[in-house]
């Protein structure tokens, strides 16, 4: 699955998330599993408290880390897809554009 840059993402409300030493840890009873996020993962998770466009998330991160937008988008896509597959993040709107962010 490709993530469109205008796809809208938000944290799912099911998992319980809490912070330890600036890292997010989560319990999903639905998935029957615990999850831990590292520093950048935590940053992305926090950005998705409110619904956000995927392209905006990548742009903000690339500015913050002065990283190449294409490489960063590939990495963030994999990470966000993993969050979606595990039910931790929800796709509010799949988006329609086929252009890269």
């Amino acid at each position: 699955m490709r993530l469109q840059s205008d796809a809208v993402l938000v944290q799912d409300s099911e998992p319980i998330a809490t912070t330890v030493d600036d890292e997010v840890v989560m319990l999903s009873v639905r998935a029957g599993a615990y999850f831990g996020l590292n520093g950048v993962g935590t940053e992305i998770w926090n950005m998705l408290r409110e619904p956000r466009r995927f392209g905006d998330v990548c742009r903000e991160l690339s500015q913050h880390y002065e990283a190449d937008i294409d490489a960063l988008t590939r990495d963030v896509t994999m990470f966000v897809q993993a969050l979606i597959e595990r039910g931790l993040v929800r796709l509010v709107d799949a988006g329609s554009s086929s252009t890269r962010p």
């Binding site: 330890v20 840890v25 615990y34 996020l37």
Partner: protein, 308 residues
């Protein structure tokens, strides 16, 4: 209730004696926190798994241990045991003080860890790890080489005060050690009670070195083995990995759902990870080097103890 004991910071009243615990010198002023009795239990669906049968509506969980009996644990307060016919009663008691009490602690919202702990300079240091990682051996060596006291062996119950500070509660008054670990301490097995579950493991009574009350828990070592690690490689763990280690080493973690504590326990794990220093302690498997490992731990603790 005729017999009163202190265990895991709770007053336990029992209809029958529990010689594995030390009798309270004076009876409790108020009603005990836990009541243990014997009785006939209602029929419940037999389970293929070893997970307790749960009657959530009544806050009860029923544990069945083949060869010992059935244990009904209610509201974190009541433990009724129905021994199997012909069961050896010391075997029945083993699960009263182990699995059933662990389940009851979960019901009470306490945090039981699969860990041994010692008190050094007023602070509790815990060793957690899988069976065979040397929790008891390291605790016993700390007792042998430092002015330390035992907090708990194998099962360490942690409670939180109103400010969220973790406290290590005094456990059972003995340390379970393998014959060779006793040998490394300069002890034989003469006069020691053999363990019921494991051949060549013995109970070293240690009531005179047991702490009398709860101790602030400040440090947790996660034990592991690695042939190349030498006598003791110590690395700090933070955040998610510290919380994950505390969850993984929770005593009877498989009972959390039966106690309806999965969510509460998760939040407590994160809180505990934020409140204590969790460190991975890796060492090579060599009993002759345990003394050196204990010394490495004391050295690792030194700055913290001096700062206290």
């Amino acid at each position: 209730m005729q017999f009163f004991y202190d265990v895991h910071g709770l007053v336990l009243g029992s209809e029958f004696p529990l010689p594995e615990l030390e009798l309270r010198r004076r009876p409790a002023a108020s009603a005990p926190d836990i009541r243990v009795s014997m009785g006939l239990l209602p029929a419940a669906p037999r389970r293929a798994t070893d997970l307790p049968y749960v009657d959530a509506e009544n806050g009860q969980a029923l544990l069945r241990i083949p060869g010992a009996g059935r244990y009904l644990v209610s509201d974190g307060r009541e433990l009724v045991v129905e021994p199997e016919a012909d069961a050896d009663f010391s075997y029945v008691r083993l699960f009263i003080l182990g699995s059933a009490l662990g389940l009851l602690c979960h019901q009470r919202g306490l945090f039981p860890l699969h860990a041994s702990a010692v008190e050094l300079a007023g602070e509790a240091v815990a060793f957690m790890g899988e069976p065979g990682q040397g929790k008891s051996t390291l605790a016993a060596h700390c007792l042998a080489c430092a002015p330390a006291r035992l907090v708990a062996d194998d099962t360490l119950v942690v409670s939180f005060d109103r400010a969220g500070r973790p406290w290590a509660q005094p456990g059972l008054p003995n340390v379970k050690l393998w014959r060779d670990a006793l040998g490394a301490l300069g002890r034989g097995t003469d006069g020691l009670r053999p363990d019921r579950l494991r051949v060549d493991k013995f109970h070293l009574p240690i009531a005179d070195r047991l702490v009398g009350s709860a101790v602030p828990l400040t440090r947790v070592y996660v034990l592991g083995h690695d042939a190349d690690a030498g006598e003791g490689r110590i690395e700090p763990m933070a955040g998610a990995s510290a919380a994950a280690a505390l969850i993984a080493h929770t005593y009877r973690v498989e009972y959390l759902d039966a106690a309806e504590r999965r969510r509460g326990h998760f939040v407590a794990s994160a809180r505990l990870a934020g409140r204590v220093s969790v460190r991975r302690l890796t060492r090579r498997r060599d009993l002759a080097a345990v003394q050196a490992t204990a010394a490495a731990i004391l050295a690792d603790l030194q700055p913290a103890l001096q700062g206290a």
